[in-house]
Amino acid sequence: MIDLVIALAYLLSAVLFIVGLKRLSSPRTARRGNMIGAAGMLIAIVATLLDKEIVGWTWILVGAVVGSVAGLLFAYRVKMTGMPQMVALLNGFGGGASALVATDEYMRYAAGTTVPHYDIQTTIMLGLIVGGVTFSGSLIAWAKLQEVMTGKPILFAGQKVVNALLLLGALALAAYLVVVDANMPLYLVLVGASLLLGVFFVIPIGGADMPVVISLLNSYSGIAACMTGFVLSNNALIISGALVGASGIILTKIMCDAMNRSLANVLFAGVGATVAGPAGPGGAVAKPVKDISAEDAAILLTYAREVIFVPGYGMAVSQAQHQVRELADILTAKGVDVKYAVHPVAGRMPGHMNVLLAEANVPYPQLMEMDAINPEFDHTDVSVVIGANDVVNPAARHDAASPIYGMPILDVDKSKNVIVMKRSLNVGFAGIDNELFYNDNTRMLFGDARKMLTALIHELKVNA
């Protein structure tokens, strides 16, 4: 009887996860959706605690208290600009938990507590490998995003060969452990190999490609949970894990499409390792850039009817989202029509810019996706680029020699005037010069985004 109740409770929690994710299709219903998901999780946890296999509570309590406190502390203290790191860490913990569960299940087989089955053992191995890769890979991604280690790709000779051998070796070892011999020391070697694979998987990937890596690790953490589900023959885990796996895969694809690069290129090409000097291709260097003072920029904005803000990673770095919003408020009060254009890969994770602008109280109907906003640049008086670079480089449209050729971009160069806020003329992540900066209708406002925005706000207030 109790088993039936538990089984139905798991089914209910899987249904609640699906309903919750469905509600994420609109910002109006999303918050409720997240709570429905949390309710599903609570039901699954309570159902598990009713399981008669559970005989002691001490360790559960210790783990649950430590984990919950740490999780809630992270959740409420993290800055919105630090969200990519937070998600990377969460991915890692999910993967780590799955790897630990797999390890314990394996110990039971090795000790002869339970009779091994090939199928279950296979999923244990997959759970360990995927979970281990997710854990260590996410920690590296976190370290890169947090700038504890260099955000540049780390490359060495024969890297791909080493990685391929490591992966094949791990799979061969896993097969040996399943088919031939349940051997605990060898299992520990496999644990080490999985962790090493995760490290090697992420180190060759540059900082600006992190949206792809985080999405992919997100997917892995789901697949690891799935494998745990196969080990425990628990369909709730399989369904939930598959949902997360699918979500991560979709996001990965969206990110790759938005850069016009294949997943293989992102993962293995080491893009961003060699940063070319400002002397980029196309002879653009011969032309000087025209800079503009905050005062003149303020005048330009005052006489505009339509203004589009284009935020990029630079806005996140200088935490300028509140100043952007303040400037937009002043302009709106003067009767200017203000919108925001958000490129899918702007920032360090999918949707990063939207969260920052929402934090600064920008109403979400003003946040426009690339396809919706691109036709509007034609009749826009001023586009203000705040710390974005490659995503507004017109070379992507016409210069077949450019590394970003074919990447969909925001057509800011089509607006009547462009103000680019940038700290220097340094190249963007792709290591190439941006011809937008040399256009006749472009003015450069050099300096830290937050300082420059504050100066603009000051000018507008003084002249009001």
Binding site: F17, L21, G71, F93, T228, N235, S240, L243
Partner: protein
């Protein structure tokens, strides 16, 4: 045994399709909360962690289980809480924004 595994594989494949259908409708604007929220859902591995920590087969197993529970709870508690924190910031009109 094989029949049970086959059922699980059916469930897995169908759930992936459900996932694609549901997630494809999430707008780009909400992709960060989608990641953290789906992340919290992948904390469902807590089910396995609770079993390991609670069946007390050996001291080592219990400790492994406790660590697994802690990891999964970071994921669950942190994931749902941070998602809620983000989602409450998305306001339709400036007036709702308060503060």
């Amino acid at each position: 045994m094989l029949a049970g595994l086959m059922v699980s594989i059916y469930v897995f494949v169908l759930a992936i399709f459900v996932g694609f259908e549901v997630i494809a409708k999430v707008p780009q604007m909400l992709h960060t909360p989608l990641m953290s929220g789906s992340n919290a859902i992948s904390g469902i591995t807590i089910v396995g962690a609770l079993l390991v920590a609670g069946r007390l087969e050996s001291p080592l197993s219990a400790v492994l289980g406790a660590v697994a529970v802690a990891f999964a709870m970071v994921n669950v508690a942190g994931g749902f809480a941070v998602t809620d924190r983000m989602l409450q910031m998305f306001k339709r009109k400036p007036e709702e924004a308060g503060k």
